[in-house]
Symmetry: C2
Subunit: 132 residues, 2 copies
């Protein structure tokens, strides 16, 4: 599988289609805004629930849901300390850490090209204002 052209080949059409679907699934999870932000954040070290909440400016609900999904996928671990008040720590698993690498490369690209994209947008918008 090449990640490039992904059309059905005469050779193994159904298999490719299935693979593509699976990749879409993973990318859906991975592409999710909050998932990415959480992974990036936890890459900096273990954090508690409300720490993440404040840090990301995410709502309680979305944080809770996203963390559960990430834990289900094995990307993060949840450690509950039955103290009073309770304390729950979230951290990247080895799988999560391996995932954070390509994610960081995307992040780095984003940083490196922020202004680049801005220039493109301005040029595009300017051209739209002056049609011809």
């Amino acid at each position: 599988m090449t990640l490039g052209y992904m059309e059905d080949t005469a050779a193994h059409p159904a298999q490719d289609a299935a693979q593509c679907q699976r990749i879409k699934d993973v990318l859906a999870r991975v592409g999710d805004r909050w998932s990415v932000m959480i992974v990036i954040t936890l890459d900096g070290g273990t954090m508690r629930f409300n720490e993440l909440k404040r840090h990301l400016g995410i709502t309680q609900r979305m944080l809770s849901l996203t963390l559960k999904e990430l834990e289900r996928d094995g990307l993060i671990s949840r450690t509950y300390h039955p103290t009073i008040p309770p304390k729950v720590e979230y951290a990247l698993t080895p799988l999560g850490k391996s995932f954070s690498e390509p994610v960081r490369s995307i992040g780095r690209w984003a940083i490196d090209n922020l202004t680049n994209i801005d220039v493109c947008r301005q040029r595009y918008d300017a051209a739209a204002d002056t049609p011809d």
Copy 2:
């Protein structure tokens, strides 16, 4: 900027916050399902509108909108051939190609860890069924 912990530091709080926001913006564009799929597909070579449409199983509307955004961001180029019938070719720009690299690394990670994630999910779901 480290992409790790991104909390306000005493040093430059506002700047960090602004950067984070920008990164979120770019990731929002980049994280978009169709944007990623289109970039991956075009990484395989130039394609026409309906080719992309068939290939991705995307609706006309979404394809049109997403292509416009990608063009605005300078990731893809649009070449119009005023023939009859008209012919429009889409291709990655150099910026788009540079972006496709980290995207491909994510794709590769996804492929490498599909089964890995499946196992984690099954284990998680099984544990949920047998709550201790």
